[in-house]
Symmetry: C4
Subunit: 286 residues, 4 copies
Amino acid sequence: MNLNVRPNENDDGSSGAAWRHKLYVIIFEADTPAGKWFDLILIAAVLLSVITVILDSVASIALQYQTILKVLEWFFTILFTIEYIARLSCVRHPTRYARSFFGIIDLLTILPSYLELFLPGAHFLTNVRLLRLLRIFRILKLVSFINEYSQLGSALAASRRKIMIFLSVVLIVTFLLGTLMYAVEGPANGFTSIPVSVYWAITTITTVGFGDISPKTDLGRLITSLMMLLGWGILAVPTGIISAEISAQKFKPTTRTCPTCLTEGLDEDAIYCKNCGAALPPYEHN
Amino acid sequence: MNLNVRPNENDDGSSGAAWRHKLYVIIFEADTPAGKWFDLILIAAVLLSVITVILDSVASIALQYQTILKVLEWFFTILFTIEYIARLSCVRHPTRYARSFFGIIDLLTILPSYLELFLPGAHFLTNVRLLRLLRIFRILKLVSFINEYSQLGSALAASRRKIMIFLSVVLIVTFLLGTLMYAVEGPANGFTSIPVSVYWAITTITTVGFGDISPKTDLGRLITSLMMLLGWGILAVPTGIISAEISAQKFKPTTRTCPTCLTEGLDEDAIYCKNCGAALPPYEHN
Amino acid sequence: MNLNVRPNENDDGSSGAAWRHKLYVIIFEADTPAGKWFDLILIAAVLLSVITVILDSVASIALQYQTILKVLEWFFTILFTIEYIARLSCVRHPTRYARSFFGIIDLLTILPSYLELFLPGAHFLTNVRLLRLLRIFRILKLVSFINEYSQLGSALAASRRKIMIFLSVVLIVTFLLGTLMYAVEGPANGFTSIPVSVYWAITTITTVGFGDISPKTDLGRLITSLMMLLGWGILAVPTGIISAEISAQKFKPTTRTCPTCLTEGLDEDAIYCKNCGAALPPYEHN
Amino acid sequence: MNLNVRPNENDDGSSGAAWRHKLYVIIFEADTPAGKWFDLILIAAVLLSVITVILDSVASIALQYQTILKVLEWFFTILFTIEYIARLSCVRHPTRYARSFFGIIDLLTILPSYLELFLPGAHFLTNVRLLRLLRIFRILKLVSFINEYSQLGSALAASRRKIMIFLSVVLIVTFLLGTLMYAVEGPANGFTSIPVSVYWAITTITTVGFGDISPKTDLGRLITSLMMLLGWGILAVPTGIISAEISAQKFKPTTRTCPTCLTEGLDEDAIYCKNCGAALPPYEHN
C-alpha cells in the first residue's frame, strides 16, 4: 500500500544518515528479510495487543489476571511508542506522516495508557471503555498489509454517487414510514418519538427485526407488513428478475442462423447477416 | 425535474408583469445566482424545519424547549406559506400547480399549524402525532432536486408487471402458509386470527423475525423451518446459481478450437484465430 | 392457462347438447363477453369469500357479525357448488377434471360448510381452524388467470436439480451446526432437543432470528457468530464478487485495439486480430 | 466421488484374494447390482440411524422408548462397525483410508456406543450430548454419493482469496463497531464485554437480530441504524446497481449507428449492418 512517504534523504539524492535509510527500508518496505520480519512481528504484536484488550474487557478474566494484563498493556504501549518514534524519525516529512491516516491511528492507539496515567478521572468506567475502544483501533494498522483493500476502496469511491442516491431514497422512505408508524401506534406501544420510530423503521426495512419494539395495532401491523415486503423485495425482486432473464436466455436463445455463413444468434429483427452481409430469410417465431 | 409549469405570460409571448417572470426564474429555475440561492435556502429551511418537528416529538426535549420549538414552527409555517403563495402567483395556471404532486405537498405541510390554531380537538394527542406526520412530508420537497429519482421512478414503472406478478405469488404463498400456521398453532400460541397469522408469516418469509409471535408446537416449528428456507432461499438460490454460471464461464470458456494451431477458448464471434491468424471455420453451437 | 379439458361433444365432432357447449364456452374460455363476465364475477366471488373467512377468524368481528358471516359463507358455498357442478357437466371427462389440481381445489373449498353441517365434532375449535384453512384455499382458483405463473413454474422445474443440491447442502450444514449447538448449549439454555436446535439453526442461518431461543455460553455465541456470517455471507459474497467483476470490466476494459481494422476489446494474449487477421503489436500492461 | 483408494491387489496386477476384490467392487463401486444395493442399504441405514439419534434426544420420546432406541443404536453401531472393517480389509492401503476424511468419519461415528460402554463418566449429561453429536456426523457419509458436492467444493476453493478478503473486511468493521457500541452502551445495557458486543454486532450486520441484546441509548440506536443500513446495503446496493445496469442496457442499447440507413443499436462486433447489409465502419467506444 502506498503510504505516501519518502525516506529522509538530502536533496541531491545522497542518503542522509545511513541508519535512517536502513530504518526506512525495514519499516516501510518489505523487500529485505529484515523488512519482512518487521512486518510479521508487527502483525503479531497488533493481534496479541488486541487480544489483551478484549480479555481485559471480560469482567471475570480481568478480575483474575489484572496484573498480567496491565503489564502486557504497558509492554505493547511502549513497543508501539518505539515504533511510532522510529517511523517519524526515518521519513522525510515527519509532520506529514503524523497527519496521515496511519499516523493518526498510530498516535491514537498509544495514547490510552498515557492518558490513564495522567488523567485519573471521575467517570472512571466510561473512560475505561472509551480507552479500550481507542486501543482496539490498532487493528487498523493491519489494513496497510492487504493490497486488495485499496482496490475495494477505489471501487467504492467510483460508485459513490449511485450509492448516495440509493441510500438517500431508502432514508427518505424509512423516515416517512417511521413517522407514519409513530402516528399510528403512538408512545403507548413503544413508538415513543419520531427518532425511535425511525430507528424501528430501519430495523424493519433492513430485515434485522430485533423485536425490542413491534407494532401492536391492526393498521400498524398492516403497514409493517408492507414495509417488510419492501425491504425484502428490494433484495428479492432484482435477483429474481435477473435470474429469469438469464434462464430465458439459456433455454430459448436466438437460434436464428445465417444460411450463408452459419453465424448464429442473429437478432430477430435483422435483415442482413451481421457477419457476412448476406440477406436473411424471414424469421418465424415458434 | 420537470414540474410541468409555465411562467405567467401573455399569449403573444410578451411577459406579463415583469416581477412575475423574475419570481418564476428565481423559484422554478436554477440558472441565475438568485435561483441557486433560493434553492439552497429552501433545502436548508426544509431540513431545519424537519429537525424541529423531530425534536418536538421527543418528550424530554419538548418539555424543556416548548416555546422555542413553537416559535420556530410558526416561523417555518409562515416561511413556507409565503413560498407557496409566491409559487402560485408566478405560474401560468395556479390551479394546475395546486393540484400537482408538489403543490399538494406544499399545501399539506403548512396546514398543521393553522389546523391546530382553529381546531383544538378532544383527541389532542392523536391530532398532534398526525400533524407531526404531515409536517414531516416537507422532506418530499427535496425530491425535486435530484434528477436520478425520476430515472429510478421510470425504471420501476417499466418493470411494473414483473414486480406485480412476483409480489402476488409471494402474497398468495404467505397467505396460505400463514393460515396453515393459524390452523396448526392456534390462538393459544399467539396466532389469534388469520390476519395476525399472515402478518407473522410475512415477518418470517421476509426474514425480519421480530419474535413477538413465534411457533411453539413441533409441527408449527417444522412448517416455520420450511418457510424460513423459502424466504431466504428466494434470495440465495438465484444468487448462487448466477455465481456458479459466471464461475463456470471463467474456468471453462467456449471450447471453440482453431484447427490450425489447436488454440482453445476462441471467441464465438471471431473470424480469424487470435493466435496464428488462420481463417476460422464457422462456429457451431452444441 | 391450459386446463386440459375438452368440451363435451359427440365423437363425430357434432356438439352434443348445445347448452353444454355454451356453458363450456362461458366457464372455460374468455373470448365472449359472457365468458369475460363469468371470469370477473368468479374473481370477485373468490376475493369476497376469502375476506369473509378472514373476518370470521377475528374474534371481535366474529362475535358481532356472526349471523351475517354465516349467511355469507353459505351463500358462497352454494355459489361455488353450482359452479363446480356446472364445470363437471360441460366437460367431456368429468372424472378427469374432478381429479385435476383445480378440480380438487374446487371440491375441497366447498366441503367445509357441508362437513360442519354433518359432523359437529368434539374438537370444535380445531375443526373450525382447519375448515377455515380449507376455505382459504379458494384463493388458488385465481392462479388459473395469470399466464406468467405457469412460466414461473416451468423455470423452477427446469432448475430443479440445482435447487435440490443447494438446499441439501444447506440442510446438512444446518443439521450438523444445530446438533453442535445442542451439545454446547444444552437444554438448560433452551436447546432442549436436536429437532429444536435444528429449528434454531435454520432461524439463524436464514437470518430470521426470532430470538425465542438464543445462545448463552461464550462458545455457543462464537459458533453462532460463524453461523450468522455463513448465512448472510452466502448472500453477500456472490453479490459482492459479481459486482466487483462488473465494475472491473467497466473501468478497465481490454482496450487493446487492432491498428489495421480498429477492432477493440481484443484479448490480452491475442497475436492476430480476430476480425481481420492482421498481426498485432505486443501488448503492454499499464 | 473419487475416494482415492485402490483395491487390494498383488503388484503384478493379479488379484490377491478374490473375495477382497469382490468386496471392493460391492463397497466402493456402484456398477454391479450388488454395488447398487449396497449403496441403497447404506443410505437407508444412515438415515434411519440419524433419525434414531434425533428421537433419542427428545426427552418425551426417549423416556417412553428407551429400550427400543438403545437396541436400535447398538444395531446400527454393529452394522457400521462391520462396514468399517469390510472397507479396511478390501483396500490396498488400510491406513491411508483410515486417515482419510471418510475413514475418520466412519470411525468417529461408531465410537460413541463403545465409549459409553467403557467410560461411564461423571458429567453424564454432557457426554451424552457430545456422543449424540458424533453419531449425527454419520450424515456426512451421504456426501460421497453426490458428485456436484465436489464441484461446489472446487468452486469455493478457487474463490478462496476473494472470500477471505471480503470476510476479513466484514470482521474488522464488525469488530470496531461492536467495540464502539460497547463503549457507548456499556454493561448496564447488556453490552457486558467486547466479545459480547462483537457477537451483537455480527447479529446486527448479518441482519439476524435475535433481540437478546439491543441498544437502549439514543447514540447507540443511531450507530445501530447505520450498522443495519450497512449490513443490508451490502446486499441491496450491488443488486440494485446490477439491475439498473441491465435495465439500462435493455432500454438504451449500444448507440452504434449504420451511416447508410441510420439504424441504431447495432452489435459492437457486427461487420455488416443487419438492416441494409452495408459494410460498417469500425466501432469506436466513447
